[in-house]
């Protein structure tokens, strides 16, 4: 069923998925609310920096163009009255720029409720998309579609989250963005080891001039994510879908690429994983993206790479200022710096692997391949 703004409908008290899809990059969060529609603590917010609620009942997956929350509704604490789902866009952007924004309720793969946010004149930069709420001993879903022009700060304050600056002791709402001005960051372990390091590449599939076609990759661009890995023993490995070199988490190079999904129905982009437990055996990981299909046009591709480390804010770098005749972008590299991970933004564009190899002096031997 489709709801209009303000509409509501009952939902089964079962494990449900709330999915938010959009035509542009958006940060989606969930807030656990108690009486008076307020959080009790920062832990009540589930977002990119804290993708799982403390009780494990709300779990965020994906991000950017397709974010979902798996919620075991029957296991929600009695005191929680409502779970609100929000979308925020960066800085001077507004929700209207996303072109499409949708929230839906799914159960076991079936869509129960669909809500398309009317985009006309959307000036908010943070929107309460919808909410699950208790009503007469059952759960219902309301399509709210209201928000704040001022973005995440007034939104969070609306729910009683105290937003200080970037240096909040427990939770930083800010992502770390690597840019020309701030090209590197050094990360030390939180606890014993680095956990699983997850690196996501996402991008716009279609041409914005013809309107977004999120799910059609045929006419758009297929970006592949890959890495050069140098281990401490001096071995060098290429990890990429081309040539089926997917790598391995448990053996050298301790870097693995998730199977390349070229069926066209994945909007999660591409994922590369680094086994942080084995960081001591890794010297350097150079991460790159290349255009496997389609014409290089980095501006309209609007690629973004987000690196997730457990207990750390996500690190984002955008594939901007691209040289349009060059199909390969060296995005970032992770260097083992006395046990810490030094993340450096590179953002340099090359015509192919060999040119990049030469520029960073890796010394692979190259021949053409296909997947």
């Amino acid at each position: 069923m489709e709801l209009i703004q303000g509409g509501n409908a009952p939902v089964p008290t079962q494990p449900l998925t709330i999915r938010v899809t959009s035509g542009g990059n958006v940060d989606v969060s969930a807030f656990r609310l108690y009486q008076n529609n307020r959080v009790q603590d920062d832990i009540d917010m589930v977002f990119y920096g804290q993708p799982c609620s403390d009780d494990g009942v709300i779990i965020l997956e994906g991000g950017s163009l397709n974010t979902s929350f798996n919620i075991n509704l029957g296991a929600i604490q009695e005191s929680v009255q409502k779970i609100a789902f929000t979308a925020t866009v960066d800085g001077n952007q507004v929700i209207g720029n996303l072109q499409t924004l949708k929230i839906q309720v799914e159960q076991s793969g079936n869509t129960l409720i669909t809500c398309n946010v009317p985009m006309n004149g959307r000036n908010e930069s943070a929107l309460i998309l919808g909410e699950l709420y208790r009503r007469n001993a059952e759960w219902k879903f309301r399509f709210v579609s209201q928000g704040f022009n001022g973005g995440l700060k007034p939104l969070a304050e609306h729910f009683g989250v105290e937003v200080t600056d970037e240096s909040t002791p427990t939770i930083s709402l800010q992502k770390v963005t690597l840019s020309k001005d701030k090209p590197s960051i050094s990360l030390t372990k939180q606890g014993d080891k680095f956990g699983k390091i997850r690196i996501n590449l996402n991008w716009h599939r279609g041409s914005p001039h013809k309107g977004f076609s999120l799910f059609k990759r045929d006419n758009g661009v297929d970006l592949d994510l890959g890495a050069f890995v140098r281990t401490k023993d001096g071995d060098r490995t290429v990890v990429q879908a081309l040539g089926n070199r997917f790598g391995s988490m448990n053996n050298t190079p301790f870097v693995e690429l998730q199977d390349d999904d070229r069926t066209g129905d994945s909007t999660n982009g591409e994922w590369l994983f680094i086994n942080g437990e084995q960081w001591e055996n890794i010297s350097e990981v150079l991460i790159f993206a290349f255009i496997y299909e389609g014409v290089p046009n980095w501006e309209s591709t609007d690629g973004v790479v987000i690196m997730h480390l457990e207990g750390q804010p996500p690190i984002e770098t955008r594939l901007s200022e691209g040289h349009s005749s060059r199909g390969l972008c060296a995005i970032t590299r992770l260097i083992n710096n006395g046990g810490a991970i030094k993340v450096e933004r590179i953002n340099r564009y090359f015509t192919g692997h060999q040119q990049m190899d030469e520029a960073f002096d890796w010394g692979f031997r190259w021949k053409a391949g296909s997947k």
């Binding site: 209009i4 703004q5 303000g6 309301r142 209201q146 704040f148």
Partner: protein, 193 residues
């Protein structure tokens, strides 16, 4: 009187269930908008109808621009355009004893001002309710949760009080109404623009 729970369309004889009720208060309340965007401006209105089902004259339409009718037998406490304040934000008070005998029915209506232009409905408004109360005793006879149960409506016929065999009866209607206040006016014989 015990609280009467009324389903839509249920009729209650006030003479039997609340014989002391002489003064009826219809209260409309909602929360001021906390998100950005145009205010939610809800309006409570009443129509005094003759036996034909139409107003006796345009003055029988009691709303934000016409706060009194039938002497002072019915009074609107004034327009609230934002929902600011606690409890009832707008109310209509009726003295059943002093209503002219040719008033056969009173219809209470709630609408959202400029709902179409502002693209609003009751479901977008937080905490919106309309209730009918015995003003003397303070007892609430019925309450309707607009935010929840009329979420996709922009106008609603809330309730009717009508004379039957010399006594007042009450009917909770809760019927959504397309076209806003002007179409309600047309229904009851008030030409409005």
């Amino acid at each position: 009187m015990a609280t009467v729970s009324l389903s839509k369309g249920g009729n209650v004889s006030l003479t039997k269930t609340d014989p002391t009720m002489k003064k009826v208060l219809v209260g409309l309340g909602w929360d001021a908008r906390s998100t950005d965007g145009q205010d939610f401006d809800l309006d409570a209105s009443a129509f005094l109808l003759g036996s034909t089902g139409k107003v006796r004259s345009p003055e029988d339409f009691v709303f934000y621009n016409n706060l009194r009718a039938a002497g002072d037998a019915i009074e609107h406490t004034g327009d609230n355009r934002t929902g600011a304040g606690d409890g009832d934000d707008e109310s209509l008070k009726v003295n059943l004893d002093t209503l002219p005998t040719d008033v056969a029915k009173i219809v209470f209506v709630v609408t959202i001002h400029d709902a179409t232009v502002r693209n609003q409905n009751f479901g977008q408004v937080t905490g919106a309710f309309i209730r009918l109360v015995n003003e003397d005793s303070g007892k609430e006879i019925t309450r309707f949760d607009l935010s929840e149960d009329a979420s996709t409506e922009t106008a609603m016929l809330f309730a009717e009080l009508y004379r039957q065999n010399g006594e007042w009866k009450f009917k909770a209607v809760g019927q959504g109404y397309k076209g806003g206040l002007s179409s309600v006016c047309a229904e009851y014989g008030v030409s409005a623009n």
